[in-house]
C-alpha cells in the first residue's frame, strides 16, 4: 500500500532507472498505405483565371511547381506581371459594379453554398493535390485542410444575407475589390479563409496564391467556374513576390488581406500607408504552450505534439515554445521522447504518415540554419532517429532543452518541426515568459484547473488561447494576432469586419 500513498503514480520518482524504456520497434509494422493519385489529373500547364477566363500571362512566362517530397515537377504555372494584375483588378472591379454588389445577399449566399458543396464533392482530389504540391501528410489535407475549407464557405455563405445582424443594427457595405495574398502552409484553406468572407460581404477578389503551392487555388478557380459565379467575382493570379507587390500597389484595390511572414507584412503595411486601402495582416508567431504540473500530462503530450509537429510545424500559431512547470520537466521530456518515437516521417501520400515533407528547399535551409544556431548557443537537441528519404526536403521532429529565453530558437519563428523547451516555477513567471516576444498570435495552457485557464487567458497577450487543447480552428471562431502577429481577425462575426464598411 505504501507505493500508492507515496504520491501520484503517474509521476515517476526521481532517479527512475533509464532501463525501464519503452520499445517502439518492429514487432508489428504498418505496410505502406499510399492514397492513390491515379484518378487525379494535374494539367501540364495552368493559366491565370481572370474575368472568368483562363488567360495566358502577358509576359508569356511560366514557373514550375514541384512536389517537395520527390522534387519532381508537377506543372507549369503562369507568372502574372503587373499588367496581368491590372487586368484582374479591372475584371474584379467590373464584376463588383455590374453583378456582385447589386445582388441580394440571399442570392450571393447560394453561390457560396455551391462552392462549399463542390469542395465536399471533390474533397479527395483536392486533398491529394494539396499533399502533392505542398508536402503535407494526406491525413491532414484529407481530415483538416479540405473539410475546414468547405466549412468556411458554408459558414460565410450563411452570413451573406445576415450582415445586418452582425454589426448591431449598423449597415454594412462591401469595400469593393479585395487583393488577397496567401501563404504556402495551408494553400487551399487560406484561400477559403480569404475568399469566403470577402464574397459573403459583397466584395470581389483578386487572390494570389504562394508560388510553391499554386495548384489547389487553381482547382478552386475551376470549382468557381463550375459553380457559375459571375465572371470576375473571383480572379486568381499566380506568381511570386513581384506579383504580390503589383497587387498591393494597385490603385484599383480597396483592401489588402495578407497572411505570411511578419517581415513581408511590415513591407505591405508601409506600401499601403498613405492610401485609402484597408488592410488586415495575419503574420508570424512564437506561441507559448504552457504545461502546469496539475495538467493531464498524457493529453498535454498530445497537445505538445500537435502544437509543433502538425503540418511539419509550418503553422503560424504553432506551439513552438514549450514552457514546463519545473516539477514535471523530466516526466514530460520522457513521455515526449516516447511519443515522438512512434511518429512516422515519409511519403506524404501514405495515410499513416505523421510528418511530411518540408515545403521547399529555402524553408529547409532556414530550419537547418536555426537548428544549428540552437546547438551553437548551447541548447540540447533531441531529434527523432528515423530514416530520411533520399529525394525531397525533410526534417525530423526535433526539440531543444536547456534553451535560454534569449536564444534565437526561443525568439525567432522557425516554421518547422522544431520545439524549444524552457521551464518556469510560478504562474506569474509563465505569463512573463510567454509574453516575452514580439509576437502574439496564440498560446496554450494545460492544467486541470479551470480557474487557472481563465487566469492565464486573461493575462496572455495573444489572439487565440487554447485551454487543454491546441491548434483548433473553426470558421465560427475568430483567429488573428496581437502585436507583431498582425491585425484583423478571420472567422466568426468579428472576421466580417475586415470586409465591410460599417455606417
Amino acid at each position: 500500500m505504501s507505493d500508492i500513498t507515496k504520491g501520484a503514480p503517474g509521476v515517476p520518482q526521481a532517479g527512475t532507472p533509464a532501463s525501464f524504456a519503452l520499445d517502439f520497434g518492429k514487432a508489428w509494422e504498418y505496410a505502406p498505405a499510399p492514397e492513390s493519385p491515379d484518378h487525379v489529373k494535374i494539367a501540364p500547364k495552368y493559366e491565370l483565371f481572370i474575368g472568368g477566363k483562363w488567360t495566358a500571362p502577358q509576359s508569356r512566362k511560366y514557373f514550375d511547381t514541384v512536389n517537395p517530397a520527390t522534387e519532381q515537377k508537377l506543372a507549369e504555372v503562369a507568372e502574372a506581371s503587373a499588367a496581368d494584375v491590372d487586368a484582374a483588378v479591372a475584371a474584379a472591379r467590373n464584376a463588383f459594379e455590374k453583378y456582385w454588389a447589386k445582388m441580394p445577399g440571399k442570392e450571393r449566399a447560394k453561390y457560396i453554398f455551391r462552392i462549399a458543396r463542390a469542395i465536399q464533392e471533390k474533397a479527395r482530389e483536392l486533398a491529394i493535390v494539396e499533399t502533392m504540391d505542398g508536402g503535407k501528410p494526406i491525413k491532414e489535407s484529407r481530415d483538416f485542410d479540405i473539410p475546414t475549407a468547405a466549412a468556411h464557405f458554408f459558414y460565410h455563405a450563411g452570413w451573406a444575407d445576415k450582415l445586418d445582424y452582425a454589426f448591431h443594427g449598423r449597415k454594412a457595405r462591401p469595400l469593393g475589390v479585395a487583393g488577397q495574398i496567401i501563404p504556402w502552409n495551408f494553400p487551399f484553406l487560406m484561400a477559403a479563409w480569404k475568399i469566403a468572407p470577402a464574397l459573403a460581404c459583397g466584395n470581389t477578389v483578386v487572390l494570389k496564391p504562394a508560388e510553391t503551392t499554386p495548384l489547389t487555388a487553381l482547382l478552386l478557380a475551376q470549382i468557381i467556374e463550375e459553380c457559375e459565379l459571375p465572371p470576375g467575382v473571383v480572379n486568381i493570379v499566380t506568381g511570386a513576390g513581384a506579383t504580390g507587390a503589383a497587387l498591393v500597389d494597385h490603385a484599383g484595390v480597396d483592401k489588402i488581406a495578407f497572411t505570411g511572414s511578419t517581415a513581408v507584412g511590415k513591407r505591405i503595411q508601409r506600401a499601403v500607408a498613405g492610401t485609402k486601402k484597408r488592410l488586415t495582416l495575419e503574420l508570424g508567431g512564437k506561441a507559448a504552450n504552457i504545461v502546469f504540473a496539475d495538467a493531464p500530462i498524457d493529453q498535454a503530450i498530445e497537445g505538445i505534439v500537435s502544437g509543433i509537429f502538425f503540418n511539419q510545424g509550418h503553422v503560424c500559431c504553432a506551439g513552438s515554445r514549450l514552457l514546463l512547470e519545473e516539477s514535471v520537466h523530466d516526466v514530460v521530456i520522457r513521455k515526449l521522447k516516447d511519443r515522438m518515437a512512434t511518429m512516422r516521417l515519409g511519403d506524404p501520400l501514405d495515410k499513416n504518415t505523421d510528418i511530411g515533407a518540408i515545403n521547399s528547399k529555402p524553408q529547409l535551409e532556414r530550419i537547418k540554419e536555426l537548428v544549428a544556431s540552437g546547438e551553437l548557443e548551447g541548447a540540447e537537441r533531441h531529434s527523432l532517429a528515423c530514416a530520411i528519404p533520399e529525394k525531397g526536403y525533410w526534417f525530423p521532429p526535433t526539440f531543444f532543452t536547456n534553451a535560454g529565453q534569449a536564444f534565437r530558437i526561443a525568439r525567432e519563428e522557425i516554421f518547422g518541426p522544431v520545439l524549444t523547451i524552457m521551464t518556469f516555477r510560478t504562474p506569474d513567471e509563465a505569463i512573463e515568459k510567454a509574453n516575452n516576444t514580439m509576437y502574439g498570435l496564440s498560446a496554450g495552457v494545460w492544467t486541470d484547473k479551470g480557474s487557472k485557464i481563465f487566469h492565464m487567458a486573461t493575462q496572455l497577450k495573444a489572439g487565440v488561447v487554447w485551454g487543454d487543447t491546441f491548434n483548433k480552428f473553426d470558421p465560427s471562431s475568430p483567429f488573428g494576432g496581437f502585436k507583431e502577429s498582425g491585425f484583423g481577425r478571420e472567422g466568426g462575426r468579428q472576421g466580417l469586419g475586415a470586409y465591410v464598411e460599417v455606417e
Partner: protein
C-alpha cells in the same frame, strides 16, 4: 385543367348510393373498354403523418378526405389521417427522445442538414407546386411559394452556426469571475401551422425552432394537409434525424389543446385564423399548468410570410431560446 378549390371532409362519404344511380341499374359512368384495357394503371400514394422519421396512419384509424384536381399523379380525392390525442402523445414522446441528440449536434452539422433539406426541397419543387395547385393556388403563386420556402430553408441553414454568437454575451461582472451567457434549447415545441400559406407558413414556423436545437411536433394546415405531407417527404430524405420534426394532420381544435396541455411540451407556437380568439385564449390558459412559453398569433397577411424581414429572422429565432448564465472563477 379544371381548377377546384380544395375541400376537406371527414370520414368516408356516404356514397353507397351515389346521386343519379338507381339500385338495380348499370352505373351510368361509362368508360370505353379498350381505353381501360390498354391504359397503364396509376399507383396512388398513401398520404401519412410523419412521426419519428416514419410515415404513420392515425392510431385512431380516422381519416379526412381531401379533394382537388390537378395534372399530377394523384386522384382527385386522397385520404389523409385525422390525428388524435394519442397521436399527439406518441409524437411528443418521440420528439422528446430525439431532443438531446439533436441539441448535442454541432451547429455546423445542423446547418448542413438544413442545407440538405433545401436541396431536397428544391428538387421536389414540381410535386410541391402540384400539391399547392390542387389546394387552389395558381401555378405561378404555387411556384413562388415553393421558391420562398426553399430560400427560407437556406436562410435558416446559414443561421444555425450564427445564433450562438449573436445571442451570447461575456458578462463583465465585478470580481474575479468569468461570466458568460449562452443560448440553450427548450426542448419539445408544439406548433400549429397556419392554414395558408400551407407550405411557407409551416416551413417558416418550424425551421427557426429546430435551428435553435429544439424539436417540434406540428399540426399541418387543416385546409391543405397534403402539402405538409409532401414536405415531410423532403424532411425524411434530408438527413434530419427522425423525431426532430413530427407533423400531424387533423383538426386544429382537437389537436392544439393536447399540445398546449402536454407537460413534456416546453413551448407552443400557433398561428390561427382571425376568428380563433377563444381557442387561442384557451391554449394560453392550458399552457399555464406547466409554465409553458405560449405564443399564439393571428395569421399574418400573406405578403408578410414572403417578406425576408418579417417572415424570417432574429425575432423568430430568439423566441425558443433559454439563456444560460455561467460563472467561473479566474485565479491560479
Amino acid at each position: 385543367m379544371e381548377k377546384k378549390r380544395t375541400q376537406v371532409e371527414d370520414g368516408a362519404p356516404a356514397s353507397a348510393a351515389a346521386p343519379g344511380v338507381k339500385t338495380g341499374e348499370l352505373a351510368v359512368r361509362d368508360v370505353p373498354a379498350a381505353e381501360v384495357a390498354s391504359a397503364r394503371v396509376r399507383v396512388n400514394k398513401a398520404y401519412k403523418m410523419y412521426v419519428g422519421g416514419a410515415f404513420v396512419r392515425s392510431e385512431s384509424g380516422r381519416y379526412t378526405q381531401v379533394h382537388g384536381a390537378g395534372a399530377g399523379a394523384d386522384p382527385e380525392t386522397v385520404n389523409v389521417p385525422r390525428g388524435s390525442r394519442k397521436d399527439v402523445r406518441d409524437a411528443v414522446l418521440v420528439a422528446k427522445n430525439a431532443a438531446d441528440k439533436w441539441a448535442a449536434r454541432s451547429a455546423y452539422n445542423r446547418g448542413q442538414i438544413l442545407y440538405r433539406l433545401a436541396e431536397v426541397t428544391e428538387s421536389r419543387t414540381p410535386e410541391l407546386v402540384e400539391s399547392l395547385v390542387r389546394a387552389g393556388a395558381s401555378p405561378a403563386d404555387a411556384a413562388r411559394e415553393v421558391a420562398a420556402a426553399v430560400d427560407r430553408t437556406v436562410f435558416y441553414a446559414g443561421f444555425c452556426d450564427k445564433i450562438s454568437s449573436l445571442f451570447s454575451s461575456h458578462n463583465p461582472v465585478s470580481g474575479p469571475h468569468f461570466g458568460f451567457t449562452i443560448p440553450n434549447p427548450m426542448g419539445v415545441v408544439g406548433v400549429v401551422a397556419p392554414d395558408a400559406p400551407s407550405l411557407l407558413g409551416l416551413v417558416s414556423t418550424i425551421l427557426p425552432i429546430i435551428a435553435t436545437s429544439n424539436v417540434v411536433v406540428a399540426t399541418a394546415s387543416e385546409a391543405d394537409p397534403r402539402t405538409a405531407i409532401v414536405w415531410s417527404e423532403c424532411l425524411a430524405t434530408s438527413d434530419l434525424p427522425g423525431g426532430v420534426v413530427n407533423i400531424l394532420t387533423g383538426q386544429v381544435a382537437e389537436l392544439a389543446p393536447q399540445l398546449a396541455k402536454h407537460r413534456e411540451v416546453m413551448a407552443f407556437d400557433g398561428t390561427f385564423g382571425s376568428k380563433a380568439t377563444e381557442l387561442r385564449a384557451e391554449l394560453e390558459r392550458l399552457g399555464a399548468d406547466s409554465v409553458k412559453r405560449v405564443k399564439t398569433r393571428s395569421n399574418l397577411p400573406l405578403g408578410e410570410w414572403f417578406d425576408d424581414r418579417k417572415g424570417q429572422g432574429i425575432a423568430w429565432v430568439e423566441r425558443y431560446i433559454e439563456s444560460k448564465t455561467v460563472w467561473h472563477p479566474v485565479g491560479v
